[in-house]
């Protein structure tokens, strides 16, 4: 993969991007067990396959989600960050409403900014 088609900036060299890791769903830290929390913090799905990943175009500070084949190193799709809020990269059987209900909160985005600012979890989407 030498060029990524950034949703905002168009095709740019891969060196202009930072890799943000796989899109993962954070359990509610107030409701989950310590073990469940440690699994969220540390465990990864390490095997090859198609993965939804966070990518950032460094110069413009623009975050987006890419579906990439991690064996062939090919980006198949790109999505805006908001797509995660609306159900992108949910595990099979999950729905945004289900996740929100389990947490007792309105659907909240699992975006990097939401992780960094705890208060953002409680604001309605």
């Amino acid at each position: 993969m030498k060029i990524i088609a950034c949703p905002l900036n168009g095709p740019r060299p891969v060196s202009e991007f930072a890799y943000g890791g796989e899109v993962r769903r954070m359990p509610d830290p107030d409701l989950c067990t310590d073990r469940e929390w440690s699994e969220y913090v540390f465990n990864r799905s390490g095997s090859p396959g198609l993965k939804y990943e966070w990518w950032c175009h460094i110069a413009s500070g623009f975050w987006f989600v890419a579906l990439r084949d991690t064996t062939r190193d090919v980006v198949l799709e790109t999505h805006p960050a908001e797509a995660v809020r609306h159900g992108l990269a949910l595990r099979p059987g999950e729905s945004p409403e289900l996740v929100a209900a389990a947490r007792g909160t309105p659907s909240a985005p699992d975006t990097p900014s939401a992780r960094d600012t705890p208060s953002a979890r409680d604001t309605p989407s």
């Binding site: 060196s15 890799y19 310590d34 440690s38 540390f42 990864r44 095997s47 090859p48 991690t70 064996t71």
Partner: protein, 395 residues
């Protein structure tokens, strides 16, 4: 060099997945020291074709944590006699190892490592810039003006060795003692009954066995998926490159965390060079121009006179990384399934001690004391063994 086996037997006492250095070392010590010889080592590719044949061959024990220092020191001890044990020249060469410090913060880490090392009897010293300049008169101590060297951690026992030969030596030693090595044999499934391992499925048939040791580095998550085991392991490529042979000019091994460079010169005169991990997950050992350009630029910061030397070859391996830069070793929640993984970019030097400790663990069913800091359980307990300061460059 190795016995050819036409078919797998229906059953073995132990099956080892992966005929790299770690897997073959475990087989060797199982046969030689634990008296367990009814062992099959299954390799989906060719012997030593994974990370064992792709690393930059540096051996050292100048780590940061007590668990790490004791573990790697035992490894260096075992390395000393290996050529004699194998009756095979490993070209083991003690060169001395410099971890360069370009900032005061880095120097603080070097002093910390030196003190922990000395506490456990490992010969490491924090040295100043003059010491480095005297040992490396050809180095640009200002590193092109933007990263001046303020000192280093000097580790006298630092060494290099012929990486392929280690796999051949352990393999031949195991083979001579009755271990069966089966190449071109891929494990496709692991059978479990009542929470215990009962066998493995392979591309050449099924085997019954109560004990499986998995030592497959970057392929670990695929094997763990067969047992629905979850770990922090994530896989990124690690690239390396080698120059044309030149006359001997570099005695010690040099590492710079700030410049993300490590380099040594082989007995044939080639410069073997490496840098940081690739920046994103990928399960392919492809090489990039980005890597060779970046590493060459930093090499020239330190050694500008190399500008006309040619890069001969570049390659990559798949590094199975962990969040604390320490491995994952020992027993697992599945009885009879043992793991030697999470070796990331720091596994070659540990080949002998991994073989020793994993063979003990597999034979007795209990973790060897030296690997207690590396259990899979440590993440659930938030008790990481933090070796990020000493295990790798460019993180």
């Amino acid at each position: 060099m190795f016995t050819r086996h036409d078919a797998l037997k229906p059953a073995y006492d132990v099956v080892i997945i992966g005929a790299g250095g770690h897997g073959l070392a475990a087989a060797y010590y199982l046969a030689r020291d634990q008296g367990i010889r009814n062992v099959a080592v299954l390799e989906k590719g060719y012997l030593g074709g994974g990370n064992t044949g792709r690393n930059t061959t540096i051996i050292r024990s100048n780590y940061l944590t007590p668990e790490g220092v004791k573990f790697y020191d035992e490894s260096v001890r075992l390395w000393q006699d290996l050529s004699t044990d194998f009756d095979l020249n490993l070209f083991y060469s003690t060169r001395g190892h410099f971890t360069l410090a370009h900032t005061d913060a880095a120097m603080r880490t070097m002093r910390w490592r030196a003190e922990v090392n000395k506490h456990y009897g490992v010969r490491s010293e924090a040295v100043d810039a003059d010491f480095v300049a005297r040992a490396l008169p050809m180095m640009d101590m200002s590193c092109a003006g933007h990263a001046p060297i303020v000192g280093a951690l000097f580790h006298a026992p630092g060494a290099i060795a012929r990486h392929d030969a280690v796999a051949w030596g352990y393999g031949r030693g195991a083979d001579r003692r009755g271990v069966e090595i089966h190449q071109q044999t891929e494990v496709t499934g692991i059978r479990v009954a009542g929470g215990k391992v009962v066998g493995v499925e392979t591309s050449r048939g099924a085997i019954a066995t109560p004990k499986v040791l998995c030592a497959v580095a970057g392929f670990t998550p695929r094997i763990l998926d067969m047992l629905d085991l979850h770990t922090p392991i994530y896989v990124h490529p690690l690239q390396a490159m080698v120059s044309e042979p030149v006359k001997p000019w570099l005695d010690p091994i040099i590492v710079s965390g700030s410049l993300h460079v490590y380099v040594s010169q082989t007995a044939r005169g080639e410069l073997v060079m490496g840098a940081s991990l690739d920046p994103y997950e990928l399960h392919a050992s492809r090489s990039t121009l980005d890597f060779v350009e970046g590493l060459a630029a930093h090499m020239l910061d330190m050694f500008p006179f190399l500008s006309e030397v040619k890069v001969n070859r570049q390659w990559a391996g798949l590094a199975d990384m962990t969040p604390d830069f320490a491995p994952i070793m020992g027993t697992t929640p599945v009885e009879g399934f043992y793991l030697d993984a999470g070796w990331g970019t720091w596994g070659f030097k540990a080949t002998p001690v991994c073989g020793k400790t994993m063979s003990h663990t597999v034979a007795t069913g209990r973790n060897h004391p030296l690997i207690e800091g590396f259990t899979m359980e440590r993440f659930a307990r938030y008790q990481l063994t933090g070796e990020k300061g000493a295990a790798s460059v460019g993180h």
